[in-house]
């Protein structure tokens, strides 16, 4: 009986923590989702879906510090917003741009050219990177998630995660190279 009571108290505490996290970050998530969906209802749905994921991965959530937690939740929300947008769109223009520009998966040139200002250019290119690739990059580099963890969060296969990471890198390198070439 004591064990049941203890477990119930512990789970009740966890539930309250999740509710507190929701209260703390729901507007932030809504704001971020709106920048993607441009639609209030879709953005709200994205927030709801994001917190379904938060509940599923609450052990991970509770292990994060106060700096990582907002990043984690916002990244999940962005992913859900993007998923909802894709479902509602017949064809994603953003996807077309990136998919069509990927002519080859090979690293194309013999020598890589990185300008002294390359980092700033890379940063600028990051801002315009497709959300699909940005989300996996953020999960990898900002949230330090493993490929397995990313695949569970995004409900895609490990191979899919690796492909997205590879394509994001390849595309950025190509664009970086072509930018430098154009400026030369």
């Amino acid at each position: 009986m004591f064990f049941i009571m203890l477990s119930t108290i512990e789970d009740e505490q966890e539930r309250l923590r999740i509710a507190d996290i929701y209260e703390e970050y729901r507007y932030m998530c809504l704001h971020r989702a709106l920048t993607i969906t441009k639609d209030q209802q879709m953005a709200e749905d994205a927030v709801g879906d994001a917190f379904v994921e938060v509940i599923k991965h609450k052990e991970k959530i509770f292990s994060l510090d106060c700096n990582q937690l907002p990043s984690y939740i916002v990244t999940i929300t962005k992913n859900k917003a993007r998923d909802l947008l894709r479902k509602n769109k017949r064809k994603s223009d953003l996807d077309d741009d990136w998919e069509n520009s990927l002519e080859s998966d090979e690293i194309p040139i013999d020598e890589q050219v990185i300008s002294k200002m390359g980092f700033e250019r890379l940063l600028n290119l990051m801002a315009s990177l497709d959300e699909k690739y940005k989300i996996v990059l953020e999960m990898k580099y900002v949230l330090d998630l493993s490929t397995n963890e990313i695949s569970q969060m995004l409900n895609i296969s490990n191979d899919n995660v690796k492909t997205r990471l590879f394509r994001a890198r390849t595309q950025l390198r190509k664009l970086l190279g072509s930018e430098v070439t154009a400026n030369a």
Partner: protein, 236 residues
């Protein structure tokens, strides 16, 4: 501004990877910093009633799922505790020499259609003896011997009962197809009963197997199992 050409692809990969990591982190930080503070957001936006209701249900469902999970967890703990207790009791009983003798001497192996009895150890107390049942059901008489350690009894209806014994070193197999298995323990001896479930079949025998004093005994016959048990118990 001159470009820096890095001829080694591996170095390029490492440098690009380092740049990319930093660019992703900084870009994310910039995005997060661009989000207005909470108080301002609360003035800018309002959640719909539908959304608030959905979230309320979500947390309620989570609570129900958690309660269910707790109940399942407790049941599992109780089952594990019961199994551990039973195992501990079993091993405690094994400290008793009599229990060990009753349980540990015979290895019973169940196969698809037969059961094999083997001894786990040799017969330490073995002394050569002659055995015979002291009880026979009414109307049964000895009609034949089977070697030096087997007896066949029949009655006027030509129902046959066989009593047999041999040293415990060898194995004994019993047909277990269409048989109901049970066990009787009497005077620290385990009697293994195989009773046919096919009634009124004069070709199916009931069988009793037990070990005692270095010997393995068998009583079998197409006859009432209780009577066969009496025969077995009368052997000394």
């Amino acid at each position: 501004m001159p470009n820096i050409i890095l001829g080694n692809l591996e170095n390029n990969d490492s440098l690009f990877e380092a740049f990319l990591r930093q660019a992703v982190i900084i870009n994310h930080q910039n995005e997060m910093a661009a989000i207005p503070p909470r108080k301002e957001l609360e003035k800018m936006y309002a959640f719909s009633n539908e959304h608030n209701l959905r979230m309320k249900k979500l947390f309620a469902a989570d609570k129900r799922q958690e309660t269910f999970a707790v109940v399942i967890k407790c049941i599992k703990v109780a089952v594990i505790a019961a199994c551990v207790s039973a195992t501990m009791l079993f091993f405690t009983l094994l400290t008793s020499a009599d229990f060990r003798k009753a349980v540990g001497d015979v290895i019973v192996t169940w196969f698809d259609k037969f059961t094999e009895f083997r001894s786990s150890q040799g017969s330490e107390d073995f002394t050569e003896r002659d055995w015979s049942p002291k009880y026979l059901p009414e109307g049964f008489t000895l009609v034949d011997t089977i070697g030096t350690t087997g007896f066949m009894f029949t009655n006027t209806e030509e129902v046959r009962i066989i009593f047999n014994y041999k040293e415990i070193d060898s194995s004994t197999s019993v047909d277990n197809e269409d048989m109901k298995y049970s066990v009787i323990v009497e005077d620290e001896i385990i009697y293994h009963l195989f009773e046919t479930i096919i009634k009124d079949d004069k070709y199916e025998d009931n069988v009793i197997v037990w070990d005692m004093d270095g010997y393995r005994f068998t009583v079998m016959g197409n006859y009432n199992i209780d009577e066969l048990v009496k025969i077995a118990l009368s052997v000394n």
